[in-house]
Symmetry: none
Subunit: 197 residues, 4 copies
Amino acid sequence: MSPKVGMEPIRRKQVIEAAKACMLSKGFDHFSIKDVAEKAQLSTGVIYHYFKNKQDLYVHVLKDSFGETELMVREAVTKENSYRDKFSAYLEVVAAVPEDNPDFYIILLNYLAQSPYNDDVKQIISKFLINLQGFIEDILQHGVNEGRLTPLEQKTISQMITSQAMGLAFQGMLLPQEERSSVLKDEFIRIFKQYVD
Amino acid sequence: MSPKVGMEPIRRKQVIEAAKACMLSKGFDHFSIKDVAEKAQLSTGVIYHYFKNKQDLYVHVLKDSFGETELMVREAVTKENSYRDKFSAYLEVVAAVPEDNPDFYIILLNYLAQSPYNDDVKQIISKFLINLQGFIEDILQHGVNEGRLTPLEQKTISQMITSQAMGLAFQGMLLPQEERSSVLKDEFIRIFKQYVD
Amino acid sequence: MSPKVGMEPIRRKQVIEAAKACMLSKGFDHFSIKDVAEKAQLSTGVIYHYFKNKQDLYVHVLKDSFGETELMVREAVTKENSYRDKFSAYLEVVAAVPEDNPDFYIILLNYLAQSPYNDDVKQIISKFLINLQGFIEDILQHGVNEGRLTPLEQKTISQMITSQAMGLAFQGMLLPQEERSSVLKDEFIRIFKQYVD
Amino acid sequence: MSPKVGMEPIRRKQVIEAAKACMLSKGFDHFSIKDVAEKAQLSTGVIYHYFKNKQDLYVHVLKDSFGETELMVREAVTKENSYRDKFSAYLEVVAAVPEDNPDFYIILLNYLAQSPYNDDVKQIISKFLINLQGFIEDILQHGVNEGRLTPLEQKTISQMITSQAMGLAFQGMLLPQEERSSVLKDEFIRIFKQYVD
DNA sequence: CATGAATGAGATTTCATTCAT
DNA sequence: CATGAATGAAATCTCATTCAT
């Protein structure tokens, strides 16, 4: 393979994807850089060319995962026009993540568990959550402007939604639910739709 | 220095507490048996006298944590007489765990993250969650008997409650909320109380 | 169990048998004192009451094994009257050890392997071999006295016999032979019987 | 200090030789990987770069030892032309191993002792013995073809030879024999030469 | 840019031995 | 006599990271 210039973004993505795969298959803390290198069909050395160290790689895996999910949500919401539809779309897309991208919550869970011991990780997840809640707050801003909602309620609703979604996803990893999961998803949507009616 | 007979229960508890402390201060998988031994002021060898291996210790830390929390919930619920009061008590005590025993959710979070890779852990957490949901299902059984609730709703409610509680607790670790946490707690109780009215 | 006096020989034998069993089931160097204690249904502590240390126990297991085998040979030989019959009986009994007491050669083999690094063991095995060869030398002494055999031949024969027996036994552990083993046994007896004819 | 590419065969041989030396000086199972690393002037880590684990290293030491000895025998035999000379050469070279390569039988003895507990080792030694017996069987095939020998005798002779050689070698480790060893060697050759006369 | 050999600290686990009771 | 709790050294093995090529 001839060395090429401009490989940086390609290699970085290649390594991040391999790391993500290793993390999912072996467990968050149970894969080695050698595992990643093998998965990515690269040498161990090259990983250290593109990432400062393992911690740095961890951070980039997290950013990558969050980026994808945030994009999904953003697209679903901006596609709609009315506030009511935006709100519904948000609930739908958030409730669908565990099915559409089951790995996402495994990744999130693992990083969440690290967050008390790692401030970088904590900041990144917090920012992600805040962004996610920002979508609903924007949607609900309408109601606030019209006086139907207080700013406190606006914030509370957005936080109740994300935490319920997170909780359901984590619970779903443990309890085999099959048909139940759609019941729960519907109930999730039903509960929070009340707020815009 | 002073070997005695019948040390087993004392030492086991001592080691479990030390392990829990290490886990909380360093994070799951980031503490060593040596750390636990030092914390417990014992030699490393003695840990293996009472626990088969590190995995076995992990499992007992988890069981110990769950035992305490389950007991708290059970006591709160059985203290009340009417179904309505039992339900309220349940919501109150569950919502209070993050304040009353903040370590509990850190422990839970860490083990939850391991659950996809460790079936023992998965089983224990699942059982804990099911037990916890069992409390509400028992309370709601009244409503089912009277025809006010379907069994499906009974199950759905119990699962919505535990997942929302879990989600709020995890979110609370990230976002500094102070006064917000009580708002969220109240909203949590308000939402789910609807079901018994 | 009430402590008794005069337990020494009983306990020692009990421990030696347990150690032998552990050695055979787990491998020479792969059993612990705890294993022996469990097998003997005793505490680890008592073993150190009756044996100085593990090495001492090893030595006594060896002596015990050799004692049994030497006794078997002695009995077989002394039972016979004529030199010719004694010689035959010796060959028969020596050739029969792998069948009659298959453990013996596993024990011998393991100690033999230790002998270059442990002078005690080396002395004990050497003495055993010399004793065993002594039987034939005694039998052949008759031939020497009558001038049919030189003392050199007498010694050579005895050594050829023990080494051939040992070699066949070890080989028999590796190569599954079934019917072959009796052919080899017969050939072994045939070859060495030549010497007294 | 100086990582290079293509070190694999060099390092493997280096580690195998160091392990062999450690085994000979300390005894099978009584040397540590650290001992090997020090002997080879390498870090412990590098041993695990080239060998999966200690067991894997054991196996390669054995294969290496057997390879050398088998080569010696093969060369001695193929050098001769007549079957009678080949047979003599075989007996001579086999009888000479304890003098020419005294380490060989110490290695063999140690592994032999492990064979009841380790199937890999058992297979390797068995194969070696069978190969060694194959040489004589090939030589004696001539006699079988001419009807002077039955296939049963052919196999029996080859097994008697290898077992006697093995037995003499092991006995020679214990009993200091000096001049005796040549007497025994001559007798060994004499006994088995009978078969081709 | 890329390789993979090398390091060495550190983790888990075992176990002979001691000794208070 | 007997117990089994306790010690702590030592063994195996892993792995992030570096660096000569």
